[in-house]
């Protein structure tokens, strides 16, 4: 048995290999990696994987600025039913 897979993103099962492969294909900044591999877009919204990816980028000499992806609202997932607002509420 060789070494096991190194999972970087648990939400979408993205491995370190997947990230390295994406970087080699030219998706070599955090925003491109996010879109190409799906890492950072699962229920954790990058909270558990972003730093790993930045580290891989740095190791490969691709980290131009230490920047995360743009953080989109909501900060934590919110159920649709909590967003219905009050009856009669208008704008």
């Amino acid at each position: 048995m060789g070494k096991g897979k190194k999972i970087v993103c648990f939400c979408h099962d993205v491995t370190e290999e997947d990230i390295v492969e994406a970087i080699k294909m030219g998706y070599d900044d955090i925003e491109s990696i996010k879109r190409f591999t799906g890492a950072t877009t699962g229920p954790c919204q990058g909270k558990s994987c972003m730093m790993h990816i930045l580290r891989i980028l740095r190791r490969m000499g691709k980290l131009k600025e230490a920047k995360t992806t743009v953080i989109r609202p909501p900060i934590d997932p919110v159920p649709m039913e909590a967003l219905l607002g009050d009856e009669g509420e208008e704008d």
Partner: protein, 362 residues
């Protein structure tokens, strides 16, 4: 100064598609992208591919675009995740039904069918049909992964010997003899021809050349939920309120609601959008009530006064443009990029492009 053949400004799905079609005709395109792949509309898109449109000129492109989307995975040798489970267009009020009926009367018969409330109920048990007044199914339409389209084109461009550079903002384009001087963040280039496909930013770039394309940037919001097991086959849309709901292959529910809004320096995602979406989506699809919203975002789409895209050669020789794609451009990308590729490389203008000429704004 670096020399190049045909330059493309902007690497959204459209710019990448144009580069692909130029490369396919044997030329070497060089694409400049200011930010990263998927920075613009293409990365914020819902991904609905429709073969119809209210404007008859755009409808011709859309119908051709749908056919080409079907062939794209084979043509590019990469999966665009196009899933043709249909688009279900519903009206929930009498006014909406009247408008919808009128609109669909103008579409080619055979491209859609009308479904009765009972048919909707038996085919799509997760839909709450109580309020549905009218429903059409366009069964060949569906959902594509917008970024997979972009990546597919990009791969093919590189395979065919084209080049893509990022981050490489184009600052200006200037005619010089029979060439064009392009100032970019990576230095100066000389090109034989330039195609601008820079979304709403096409206007400011072209205005430096004395070309005025009256693009108005308007805001569009969207959201995505956590994934759940696949249950929603077709795309559900309610044109009366701008509601669109679909489920991606990853199981996320993705959607939008509302009309295009004014933009400001602070174009932010709004609570109002979340609430309107939650209300309207749960009214039609009660099962989404418990789904959690993961992300919402806003982007600025490129609109024109007559609602049509702008595609063709500009008043400056050898400078071409493809913009004004509103919030329906992805459906058109395969056909627009093919036709503009032929125009740029072979000088052949397809009659389908006539209504979209940049000179129409005079």
């Amino acid at each position: 100064m670096k020399k190049t053949d045909i330059a493309v400004v902007g690497c959204g799905a459209l710019g990448a598609g144009i580069a692909y079609n130029i490369a396919k005709l044997g030329r070497k395109p060089l694409v400049f992208e200011a930010k990263y792949f998927g920075y613009g509309s293409t990365g914020r898109d819902i991904g609905v591919v429709r073969g119809r449109h209210r404007d008859p000129d755009v409808a011709k492109l859309a119908s051709e675009g749908l056919k080409l989307h079907e062939k794209l995975p084979d043509e590019l040798g990469s999966n665009t995740l196009f899933r043709q489970d249909g688009v279900l267009t519903v009206a929930l009020t009498s006014e909406e039904a009247e408008a919808l009926e009128k609109e669909f009367k103008s579409y080619a018969s055979g491209s859609f069918i009308e479904l009765s409330r009972d048919e909707v109920r038996s085919r799509y048990p997760y839909l709450r049909v109580d309020d549905v007044k009218l429903c059409y199914l366009s069964s060949r339409e569906g959902l594509v992964h917008p970024l997979a389209v972009l990546w597919g084109y990009l791969d093919a461009v590189r395979r065919l010997g084209g080049e893509v550079v990022k981050p490489a903002e184009v600052i200006s384009i200037e005619p010089k003899g029979d060439k064009l001087n392009i100032k970019t963040a990576l230095g100066e280039y000389e090109a034989s021809k330039v195609v601008v496909a820079a979304g709403f930013r096409s206007r400011e770039l072209l205005s430096k050349l004395g070309i005025d394309i009256p693009l108005e940037p308007l805001a569009k919001e969207a959201l995505v939920t956590e994934p759940m097991k696949p249950f929603l086959d077709p795309v559900i849309e309610r044109p009366g309120t701008g509601l669109v709901v679909a489920q991606t292959m990853r199981g996320e529910v993705i959607g939008t609601v509302g009309s295009l809004g004014k933009t400001s320096d602070l174009t932010l995602s709004s609570y109002r959008f979340l609430r309107d979406f939650a209300r309207q989506a749960t009214q039609l699809i009660p099962a989404v009530r418990s789904l959690k919203v993961l992300r919402q975002w806003t982007w600025v789409v490129d609109t024109t006064p007559d609602g049509k895209p702008v595609i063709g050669e500009t008043s400056v020789n050898r400078v071409y443009v493809a913009c004004g794609m509103h919030d329906y451009g992805l459906s058109l990308v395969p056909v627009v990029s093919k036709l503009i590729g032929r125009l740029v490389v072979e000088g052949v203008e397809d009659p389908m492009l006539k209504p979209f000429s940049p000179s129409r704004f005079g």
